[in-house]
Amino acid sequence: MRRLREVAIAGVGLTRFDVYDGEKGHASKEGYELGMEAILKALQDANMEWKHIQAAFCGTVYQNTGSGHQAIDQIGMTGLPIVNVENACSSGASAFRLAYQSIATELYDIVLAFGYEKMPRGFIRSTAWPLWQRQMGFNVQPANYAKEAVRYMKETGATEEDFARVTVKNRKNGALNTYARFQKEVTLDEVLSSRMIAKPMRLLHCCPLADGGAAIILCSRNKLKSRSKVVTVAASVLNSGIYGSETGGTGSTGGGGSVRIHNDIVELSAKEAWKVSGYGPEDIDVVEAYDTMAPGELWDLEKLGFCKKGEAPHLLGEGAFDINGRLPVNTDGGLMSRGHPLGATAAAQIIEIYKQLRGEEGPRQAPGNPKVGLAHCMGTGSNSVITILKR
């Protein structure tokens, strides 16, 4: 591959992830207003003006045609190219990747990547499968994770308590995040006694619904307004779909036997991310893993190479993934606390890594002056997107 120009993050903006339906004390906001709010915050953070933005990529899933256009229309249509990106739960990071590429290849100098979502209620709806499969009750998100969890338990000896500990850890971190949907800790007992959704997945193993927006301005190093604590992109990789996968969004692949003929999609994208960045798992100081369902964080960390298969539950129990642990994971509370506005989620993960590397996270700042961080998101389809940032 040809040599790419270094790309920095100029500024970031996030709305609080919450329910913006105007009921029970919640504010009433349209999705595009959340997108606009995030963009304006990112501009302020970058100390840039709107006219400096040369192109925009917007990640959404359930919004209407021209989702990016709607948000940008609130700020000002300058004739800049706007491209809307739908890549399920990984849309925000997919938009980020396109922005990154357009600067790395010297097409533009300053580009906006953002994502927002005002979520429909109920189970995360997917139109990725034929109607007959949905009529059969297949490919419902909690059930897909339940199947993977059953297999993971059988193969590794992991327990329902291990899964519950992911929720407990992430909700504890989320209690320190004033932008999270849920800012209250939960106990192991509360998770294990919550309502069964799809055995063995309970309500508190599922990330909550939330609405929100997240925006990131990327630029070439010479366009930065500030040279202190510069964070650059070390890798932005995306893999979509591997033949032989059983389900769309969990990272699961053929579970053995004669049909396992390809690598796991998460392992594949991790391999690419390590190759592109020149880093390995041992170099990473802080991680945003994909915890749309609690057990997913465990096999995510294993597939990314941070530990061997089946080791993550034990390490979690030891506190290795706590904010003060050996490898802080989901310091902002993850999807489990933040909530999951599909278009915004993966961009919010990147923002958390960016702020951790700049030492700006206050009570949830990872100690030890983190220098390299990784964000991983999955998406139905399937998609696996990894972003590595370095300071």
């Binding site: 109920g122 189970f123 709806r125 109607l131 499969q133 949905r134 009529q135 059969m136 009750g137 297949f138 419902v140 909690p142 059930a143 199947k147 059953v150 297999r151 059988k154 309502r195 069964m196 959704i197 799809a198 055995k199 059983e246 053929g254 579970g255 036997g257 004669s258 049909v259």
Partner: protein, 78 residues
């Protein structure tokens, strides 16, 4: 699943999973004719054809499902 997702109009709770056929092909399927809590990874199952639901005009829509084996025919993959 404890509650019906969008478009599913069969009985709840329901169980779905994968059955590995002797040839190595795996089939995503609903399970039937059993206590759902008794389903286990690697148990032997067999094919049945039965009603999925009735459509808007009252027509019976049938589908394949698997149930715990009364003879050895296939294997559940989870």
């Amino acid at each position: 699943m404890q509650k019906p997702p969008e478009f599913y109009r069969g009985p709840v709770p329901y169980a779905e999973g994968f059955v590995e056929l002797p040839e190595g092909v795996r089939v995503q399927t609903l399970f039937t004719d059993c206590n759902l809590d008794d389903l286990r990874v690697s148990m032997d199952v067999e094919l049945v054809i039965e009603k999925l639901h009735e459509d808007e005009e009252g027509n019976e829509i049938v589908t394949f499902k698997f149930r715990p084996a009364t003879s050895n025919k296939g294997r559940s993959g989870g």
